[in-house]
Symmetry: C2
Subunit: 287 residues, 2 copies
């Protein structure tokens, strides 16, 4: 099966921010027609000017002819947006989203729409908004799809081909496995990194804290980077992936307690064994 | 007071590895005469070939004429090395070291030698050995000196001028404050970063662990970097800075527990407050 590239079956994008705008740039570069919908007329205008969309407007009825619709709104708006959008669509329209958590969304949408496939392109920049949209943002980045037992093979094939057009590395997973994997490698690091910055404030002697700030170099900078990032995103991860994140946080805490005990007991061979192992293990995440 | 740059009062370096070899390169580039001592003749030969030293040998008697001697051996050899070296020296010779922990060493050496000043140049690479020695390694890097009440102003002045020759950013501190500051910004990050890699192994489902390894991107890579580093160095930090590191680790654990509680209680405004704060605080370490 190949994608219909004619204008009669365009791609729809709801939410024209960094992700939605960048998807539009890539799809248009591949010759696809893109209909963009944003709540704000100003955003529609910029998306048209920047070339992210072929057509843009504030009205969901624009999307009636779309073959595949990407929901790129903030995470808390995804479910209400899809509920409002559905009355305008033909039943064969494929809906997908781009949120960094999947179980909560798939659980809500799966009963409402037969052709929904959760998606998560793992790409971004520190910037936000249509002004930051970039061509090639998804190239070589992981892109996870979380089809359910309800999802038709044909819909999976269509979305697969679109993701491959972006040059992303495609992975399939259940929504639950996705959320736990992302908790380990993305949401847990944010919380432990933030805890590092926050815990330094527990130092009672201001002179030591200030000396630490002067001496901090690449080790502190790298370990604290994601904990000093966008607070809104951090809270969003915890809200929408709470169960998986708490599981990872508790396993992390118990691992940390193990390391504290080894140091208290001066068990240097035990500590060496762990550090030998973490050195070896880390390379498995760098492929 | 200015430094005597004549060959009659050369700089001594014991231990010709990355740090010792790099110090030699910089001092020689400034026209100073450098005497190197290593346990291995082969290392002396390479140090001479690479231009780190003017003279090199395996015998401490070579250092009898040195004005300032930098002890650049592995941390566990610093105290025994100084004890063996002392019989060869004039009492006005200044001894300094380059270890990343100070209290343990200063406590041992202060009663033995009037002109000892602990030092810690915070520079390095992932490499080791004389082959990795680099010119300009210490430029713009922090260099901490930890004089005690016993240390003469004249000795501090001489060492200060040498550190300034390297282009380092000089800081003064007590050995105890140094060790606690370094525990916060260097040794604690290693342990919490290693705990991240190690805790992922607690995931019971291999498929989730493997998915996480595929999805890991810059957030995981940065947060896990120092925890996947040299195991020997990590154990050394814990052994020689145990008290300060345990203090930081326990404050860290209690901060982490606070964050877990906020997420358990769905206290999103509380979590937001912390993440707003860590975002602001982090900038203080990046100057």
């Amino acid at each position: 099966m190949s994608i219909d590239l004619t204008n009669t079956q365009p791609i729809g994008i709801v939410g024209l921010g960094l992700i939605g705008g960048s998807l539009g740039l890539d799809f248009r570069a591949k010759g696809l027609s893109v209909i963009g919908v944003s709540r704000q007329e100003k955003t529609c205008k910029i998306a048209l000017e920047r070339g992210s969309v072929t057509v843009a407007g504030t009205d969901f009825s624009l999307l009636a002819s779309a073959k595949v619709i990407f929901i790129c709104t903030p995470i808390s708006l995804i479910v209400p947006t899809i509920k409002k959008l559905i009355p305008y669509l033909k039943p064969e329209t494929i809906i997908t989203d781009v949120a960094s958590v999947k179980e909560e969304i798939v659980t809500h949408i799966d009963p409402l729409w037969n052709n929904f496939i959760g998606g998560h392109p793992m790409a971004g920049t520190a910037e936000q908004g249509i002004e930051s949209a970039l061509k090639g943002l998804f190239k070589n980045a992981p892109y996870i799809l979380t089809p359910t037992q309800k999802t038709s093979k044909e819909s999976i094939n269509t979305l697969t081909q679109l993701v491959q057009l972006l040059g992303s590395k495609l992975h399939f997973s259940t929504p639950t496995d996705h959320d736990q994997a992302v908790a380990w490698i993305s949401h847990l690091p944010v919380m432990i990194s933030a805890s590092l910055i926050q815990s330094c404030l527990q130092e009672n002697h201001l002179s030591i804290l200030e000396l630490g700030q002067k001496l901090a170099s690449s080790g502190f900078k790298d370990t604290s980077r994601v904990g000093g990032g966008n607070p809104e995103l951090g809270v969003m991860m915890a809200q929408h992936n709470r169960t998986a994140l708490l599981h990872s946080l508790k396993e992390y805490k118990s691992t940390l307690e193990g390391i504290i005990t080894l140091i208290e007991e001066k068990n240097w061979s035990g500590l060496d064994q762990i550090l030998q192992n973490t050195k070896k293990q880390r390379s498995l995440y760098l492929k």
